[in-house]
C-alpha cells in the first residue's frame, strides 16, 4: 500500500508520521537526533513503519472478531515484547562494538568487565520489558547508558576494570551502535520472536494474533511522497520543494489534531514558536525566539543534567512545590549557576524547579503576546508540552492574561510538526492546490 511520510528533524528528537492515501494515520516514530541526519530520518521512518505494521495486526484481529479491548491488550503485549527483542538486538550490536573498541584502543584489562556488563544487560532485558515495568526513556542510548554506568560501577568495585575506562568504551561505542541501521527482515525476526512469547497468553485468540502478524509482515509499503521540516530541514535528504517551514507544519498539524485551533504554542529543544492560524489551518502570523534559545526545551534538559534527573522526572518533581521560587534568568548558560545559588540558600529543589518552569512559560507568554495573543482554542505542542509542570504554569498564565479558554494538548503533541509535514506530503502527492484534506486526521 502507498503511504506518505512527514519528518520533523528537531534539535533533540526526530519524528516521523506516516499516513495512508486517505490521510488516515498509520503510524508514528521517534528517535534521538544525531549528527547523521540522514540516519535519524531513516530510523524515525523505520519506527513509524513498525508502528504502522502493528496497527495492521490490531486491524486483522478485529476482523477476526477479537473484541477491541482484548485486541488492544494483546497488541500491547506484542509490542512490548517486540521492543524487548529490539533492545536485545541493539545489545548484540553493542557487544560487538565495545569488543572492537577494546581492541582498537588496547584496553585489554577492560575486556572482561565489558563482557560482564553486556551479559548483565542482556539478562536484565526480560525485567526491563516485563509487563507493567516503567522505563526512563524510549531510546536505547538513554536506557543502555544508564544501565552501563550502574553496572560499570559494580564491575569496578569488584575489580573488573577501571570505571572511567569502562565508561569511555561505552561512549566510544554508542555512536556506532546508534548509527547501525537495522538489516532487511529485522521486523519479521523480532515480531516472530515476540509472537512466540505472546502467543501463550493469547489463548483462544492466538491464531488471530498470528494471523495479524502474518499480515503485518507481508504488507508491502510503498512510499508515495515525503515532506521534511524542523530545525535541521536544510540538511534533510529531501529536495527543496519537499521541505516546509516548521511554522507551517506545526500550524497545520495542530489544526489537524484540533480543528478549532486558532493559536499554537510550540516549545521545542531550541525554538519556541507562537503561531496564529485561521479556520483552515493557514498560518496568519507567527513569532519565534531570536538567536538566543533561552527558555526553550534545552534549558530543561540542562537543568535535568545539573540535578542528575531524567528529563521526564523534572515536571512531576516541580509539581510537588508548595512555594514557587521567582527565577528571572532563562539563560541556559546561567541556569546551572542560578540553580546552585538557590540550593545553597536553602531553597527546596521542587520550589526552584517550579520557578524555572514558570520562567520558561513567561518567556513563551511574551512571544504569544507579540504574535497576536492567545485565541480560543489554544493548542500547546512540542516536547515541553509533555512536561506537566510546564503545562500547569501555562494554563495558569493563559487564564490570568486571556481568560478561560480551551487548551488542547495531545499525548502525541511531539508529532505535531511531522503530522503537518505528512499532510503537506499528501497534498503534494495528490497534486492538489486547493482541495481539502481530512480535518479529523490525528496521529
Amino acid at each position: 500500500m502507498k503511504y506518505v511520510v512527514g519528518i520533523d528533524l528537531g534539535s533533540t528528537t526526530t519524528k516521523a508520521v506516516v499516513l495512508d492515501e486517505g490521510g488516515r494515520a498509520l503510524g508514528r516514530g521517534i528517535t534521538n537526533s544525531r549528527s547523521n541526519y540522514d540516519l535519524a530520518c531513516q530510523v524515525a521512518l523505520t519506527e513509524a513503519l513498525i508502528h504502522a505494521r502493528f496497527s495492521f495486526v490490531a486491524q486483522a484481529m478485529e476482523e477476526r472478531g477479537v473484541p477491541p479491548e482484548r485486541a488492544r491488550g494483546l497488541l500491547g503485549d506484542l509490542e512490548r515484547l517486540f521492543r524487548r527483542e529490539q533492545y536485545r538486538g541493539q545489545v548484540d550490536v553493542l557487544e560487538r562494538t565495545t569488543a572492537e573498541v577494546v581492541g582498537r584502543f588496547g584496553v585489554e584489562d577492560a575486556r572482561r568487565g565489558v563482557a560482564h556488563i553486556v551479559a548483565a544487560m542482556r539478562g536484565e532485558s526480560d525485567a526491563l520489558y516485563a509487563k507493567g515495568a516503567s522505563r526512563k526513556s524510549d531510546f536505547f542510548r538513554d536506557l543502555a547508558g544508564s544501565r552501563w554506568h550502574a553496572l560499570a560501577e559494580e564491575e569496578a568495585r569488584r575489580g573488573g576494570g577501571d570505571f572511567d575506562v569502562l565508561v569511555a568504551v561505552f561512549d566510544k561505542a554508542i555512536l556506532e551502535v546508534e548509527n547501525t541501521p537495522w538489516a532487511e527482515g529485522t521486523f519479521e525476526r523480532f515480531v516472530r520472536a515476540a509472537l512466540a512469547d505472546a502467543a501463550g497468553a493469547a489463548g483462544a485468540d492466538a491464531a488471530a494474533l498470528a494471523g495479524g502478524v502474518d499480515r503485518a509482515v507481508s504488507l508491502a509499503l510503498e512510499q508515495w511522497s515525503s515532506v521534511g521540516t524542523g530545525y535541521g530541514r536544510a540538511r534533510l535528504p529531501f529536495p527543496k520543494e519537499r521541505i516546509r517551514s516548521e511554522i507551517l507544519c506545526h500550524g497545520l498539524g495542530a489544526h489537524a489534531m484540533f480543528p478549532q485551533t486558532r493559536t499554537v504554542l510550540d516549545i521545542g529543544g531550541q525554538d519556541t514558536k507562537a503561531i496564529q492560524v485561521d479556520e483552515h489551518g493557514i498560518v496568519t502570523s507567527f513569532q519565534m525566539n531570536d538567536r538566543c534559545a533561552a527558555g526553550c526545551g534545552r534549558y530543561l534538559g540542562y537543568i535535568a543534567d545539573e540535578m542528575n534527573l531524567g528529563l521526564h522526572e523534572l515536571g512531576p518533581l516541580a509539581q510537588k512545590s508548595e512555594r514557587s521560587v521567582r527565577i528571572n534568568s532563562t539563560c541556559t548558560v546561567f541556569a546551572g549557576a542560578e540553580l546552585r545559588e538557590r540550593l545553597s540558600l536553602g531553597e527546596k529543589r521542587e520550589d526552584i524547579l517550579s520557578g524555572l518552569h514558570r520562567a520558561i512559560i513567561l518567556r513563551a507568554m511574551s512571544l504569544l503576546a507579540r504574535s497576536g495573543g492567545v485565541h480560543d482554542e489554544f493548542t500547546f505542542t512540542g516536547g515541553v508540552a509533555r512536561n506537566p509542570a510546564a503545562v500547569d504554569a501555562l494554563k495558569a498564565l493563559v487564564a490570568e492574561n486571556y481568560g478561560a479558554l480551551t487548551m488542547n494538548i495531545s499525548s502525541e503533541s511531539i508529532y505535531t510538526g511531522a503530522l503537518g509535514a505528512a499532510l503537506f506530503a499528501l497534498r503534494d502527492a495528490k497534486g492538489r492546490t486547493s482541495a481539502p484534506v481530512a480535518g479529523e486526521v490525528a496521529a
Binding site: 525554538d271 483552515h280 489551518g281 493557514i282 498560518v283 496568519t284 531570536d290
Partner: protein, 428 residues
C-alpha cells in the same frame, strides 16, 4: 554608500564608485589643501548649505555601515568596548569610535580628516547627540547642535519651521562663516538646492519604478545603493544630478525589457513575492540576507529605510525659492522624525500602491528610533491591508546579533505563509 564589487555593474554604479573614491581622496588631502570638513549625519543633513560654504561632509554612520559591510566592524566594536562602551550602546557609534581609535582610516583605505566642525542637524536620534559629545571631547572642535522638533502631531507647523530656521540663521550660518572665513551666499545655496530637486525627481522615478510587475529594482538591497549619493555628500552637486539621470535611464530600460532586479547572483529570473520592508538592513550580513531573499524570488518593492534621508516620494523637494525654510522642512521630514501613525499610513500605502504580498520588519537592536513601536506598526498595517506581516531581528553592524539559521527559518516560514495564504491551501 556601499559598493559591492560584483553586484551592480551598470554605468551608474561605476559612476557612483568614482564619485565616492574622488570624495574620499579629497577628504584625505584636506589637511594639505586646507578644505574644511564637517562631520554630520544622514538624517536631516544640510549638505547644500555645507557645499555652499565649500566644506566637505563626512558621515560617521555611513563609515560605520561601510565597516560593517567590509567585515571590520567586529574589531572596531571590540576596540570601543575596550575603552568602556557597553554592549548595549548603538553599534554604529562603537564601530565609528573604534575606527577612529584605530587611525580613522575610511572605507576606501584613505585616512579621514579631523573635523573642523561637528554639525548635528537632527536630534530625533538622541544617540547622535551623545556620539558628537564624544567626538567633541576627542577633537576639541566647534560643535553646532540644532534642535529639531519631532512631528508628534503628524505635520510641520509654521512655528516649528521658524524655530529651525532661526537656529540655522543664528547658530549654524555664523559658525560656518567662522570656520570657513567665507560669507553666507544665498544665491549659491539656491543653485545647490535647484540641483538637489532635479536629482530628487529622478530618484523618485527610480523608486516608483518598483510599482511595475515584475519590479525592475529591489528597493531595499538595491535601494541602499540608489540613495547613496543623495543621502550623503553629493546632494546638490552636478555629479548627483548626472548620476540620477543615468540611473533613471537604466531603470527605465530594465522596465522596457521586462527585467527583474539585480541580485548577488545576477538578474532575478522570477519574481515570486513582492514585499515592503521596514527598518535598516544588517550590514554585516547584507549579501547573505539579500541572497536569502533572492533564492526565494522575493523582491523588496518599497522600503522605509530608503527614506531615512528624506521622504521624497510623497512630494517633498528642496525648494530654492525658500532656501532656509526648505532646509528646515527637510530636517524635520526624515523618516524617523515621523510619528507612528504617519509611519503606519506610509507603510500601508506602500503595500497597496506597490501591490505587495506583505511587509516585513527587520528590527535592529541598535536603533530604538526605528524599533520602538514596530510591533504596533506590524499589527496595524496587517489590519489595514489584510496582508501578512513578518518579523526578523538583527543589528546594524554588530555581527554578534545576526543568526543566519534563525533569520532564514523566519524568512522561509514567512514566504511560505504568503504562498499558503495566496493559494488558500490548508486543511478544511
Amino acid at each position: 554608500m556601499p559598493t559591492p564589487k560584483d553586484a551592480l555593474k551598470d554605468d551608474s554604479q561605476l559612476r557612483q564608485k568614482t564619485m565616492i573614491a574622488d570624495h574620499f581622496t579629497r577628504l584625505s588631502r584636506a589637511p594639505d589643501t586646507g578644505e574644511k570638513c564637517v562631520y554630520t549625519y544622514v538624517p536631516g543633513n544640510l549638505t547644500e548649505l555645507l557645499r555652499a560654504f565649500g566644506t566637505l561632509p563626512v558621515l560617521p554612520e555611513i563609515n560605520a555601515l561601510q565597516s560593517g559591510m567590509r567585515g571590520k566592524s567586529r574589531d572596531f566594536i571590540a576596540l570601543a568596548e575596550k575603552t568602556g562602551h557597553s554592549e548595549d550602546v548603538c553599534a554604529y557609534v562603537k564601530s565609528d569610535i573604534g575606527m577612529q581609535a584605530a587611525g580613522n582610516v575610511g572605507p576606501t583605505g584613505e585616512r579621514l580628516p579631523k573635523p573642523d566642525l561637528l554639525l548635528l542637524s537632527y536630534t530625533g536620534c538622541f544617540t547622535f547627540l551623545k556620539w558628537f559629545e564624544l567626538l567633541r571631547e576627542q577633537y576639541q572642535c566647534p560643535t553646532v547642535m540644532l534642535h529639531v522638533p519631532y512631528q508628534g502631531e503628524g505635520a510641520i507647523t509654521a512655528s516649528m519651521r521658524k524655530y529651525v530656521v532661526d537656529q540655522i540663521k543664528e547658530k549654524l550660518i555664523p559658525a560656518l562663516e567662522q570656520v570657513t572665513g567665507r560669507a553666507y551666499d544665498e544665491d549659491l545655496l539656491k543653485e545647490h538646492l535647484a540641483r538637489s530637486a532635479k536629482a530628487e525627481d529622478d530618484l523618485v522615478a527610480v523608486l516608483e519604478s518598483a510599482k511595475h510587475v515584475p519590479s525592475p529594482i529591489d528597493s531595499w538591497f538595491g535601494g541602499v545603493y540608489y540613495i547613496g549619493p543623495i543621502f550623503t555628500a553629493f546632494r546638490g552637486t552636478q555629479d548627483a544630478v548626472e548620476y540620477y539621470r543615468m540611473l533613471r535611464a537604466e531603470v527605465e530600460e530594465r522596465v522596457r525589457l521586462g527585467k527583474g532586479p539585480v541580485t548577488p547572483d545576477g538578474d532575478l529570473e522570477r519574481e515570486r513575492y513582492r514585499v515592503v520592508v521596514e527598518g535598516p538592513p544588517p550590514w554585516t550580513h547584507f549579501r547573505e540576507l539579500w541572497k536569502m531573499f533572492a533564492d526565494e524570488g522575493a523582491v523588496v518593492v518599497a522600503s522605509t529605510y530608503t527614506k531615512v534621508g528624506g521622504v521624497y516620494d510623497f512630494g517633498f523637494r528642496h525648494d530654492p525659492s525658500r532656501p532656509l525654510e526648505t532646509l528646515a522642512d527637510y530636517c524635520m521630514g526624515c523618516y524617523t522624525n515621523l510619528n507612528l501613525p504617519t509611519r503606519v499610513d506610509m507603510i500601508a500605502r506602500y503595500v497597496r500602491e506597490y501591490s505587495a504580498d506583505g511587509f516585513l520588519i527587520n528590527s535592529v537592536k541598535s536603533c530604538k528610533s526605528f524599533s520602538a513601536g514596530q510591533l504596533m506598526i506590524l499589527r496595524e498595517v496587517e489590519k489595514r491591508t489584510g496582508r501578512p506581516g513578518g518579523f526578523i531581528e538583527s543589528d546594524l553592524v554588530d555581527p554578534r546579533y545576526f543568526s543566519a539559521a534563525n533569520v532564514k527559518n523566519r524568512l522561509e516560514s514567512y514566504f511560505q505563509m504568503i504562498e499558503q495564504k495566496r493559494t488558500g491551501v490548508g486543511v478544511a
